[in-house]
Amino acid sequence: MTNKISVSIWRGKSDGEYQTYEVELRENQTVLDIVTEVQRQHEPSLAYRFACRVGVCGSCAMTVNGVPRWTCRTHVNQVTKNNSLTIGPLRNLPVIKDLVVDMKPFFKKWQTAGASFTGGKTRHDPVATISSESPGRKAADAGIECINCAVCYSACDVVGWDDSYAGPAALNRIWTLVNDERQVNKRAVLDAAFADGGCGSCHSQGNCTRHCPVELSPSESIAALKRSAFMGLPKTGAVESNKIDTGADRES
């Protein structure tokens, strides 16, 4: 049994090419470990991006054997084919260098699609208390844990052919917003989701849901947004209480 693995890694910008390295196989090795080893032992100029190494920050996503994945939580033995690995940058985003893509278009589309929270209170108002049992909270819960890794964006074919498409992550975020009891002017948020390049552009192929590393379902969020066009805004449930007991109101 060999203790080496053949790793092809993308070098250069979009007109670059794959270069192959022989890397030692170790136990419990992740794809990110492999990339790190290549950079430290073979190719010091190799550019890649990571931060937390535990699946929280969403910065280490790459294309591994043709599939977008979070590399810090992808074990080599799960994805190796014929004792080899091919690691490239994420699809659908401009390559800056090697395995690093420019995330600007991804985040820009979040903003353009209106996928950012707008509250109606100030820091002087009491904090809204949202019941964990309210329908809105439950619906938002299903999509709220997005780590912004852009794996769904990379997996989506519609993003690949339609520049204006906001992408699954932004639309998933919009679905959590229309279910957020604190979000103001939800009708405008929903309308923004239906602008050109919004949820109406989704072809329901489901690649986003299939590849989401934290097992969210942007497909379901987008389908729910589409349903809202007919059914109206979802019921979120009442804010349980927006008063914080500071003790100031108590009788002395």
Binding site: R187, A188, D191, F194, G198, G200, S201, A229
Partner: protein, 111 residues
């Protein structure tokens, strides 16, 4: 274009699809029955002349198709061609009017 209008377009396209599904089935079945003994203009006109039911049926069919088709074409053109949004919208308004007027003219002609 107003974002809420886009949402209404989305609803209109899906709602007309829902409407067109049974209308197309009835239309196809009618064609099969109608051509069984050969198809003549007299036979068609004898069925449609003065028949409010068929006029309403095909009137509804024309309106649904005139709404549904341009919205679908709009999506395809927007997604697959480099045409500007204004040009695509203008073409789709033209297509809507063409389908609506030509279709209603035909319905009126055989009534």
């Amino acid at each position: 274009m107003r974002a809420s209008l886009q949402r209404h377009f989305y609803v209109a396209q899906r709602a007309t699809a829902l409407l067109l599904a049974p209308l197309v089935v009835v239309h196809l079945v009618l064609i099969m029955i109608a051509v069984k003994n050969g198809l003549t203009a007299d036979e068609i006109l004898s069925r449609t002349r003065g028949n409010v039911l068929w006029a309403v049926f095909y009137g509804l069919f024309v309106v649904a198709a005139a709404v549904h088709a341009p919205l679908g074409v709009r999506n395809v053109l927007r997604e697959w061609t480099p045409l500007s949004q204004q040009l695509v919208d203008a073409f789709c308004v033209f297509l809507f009017l063409l389908l609506l007027l030509a279709g209603l003219r035909a319905v009126v002609a055989v009534y």
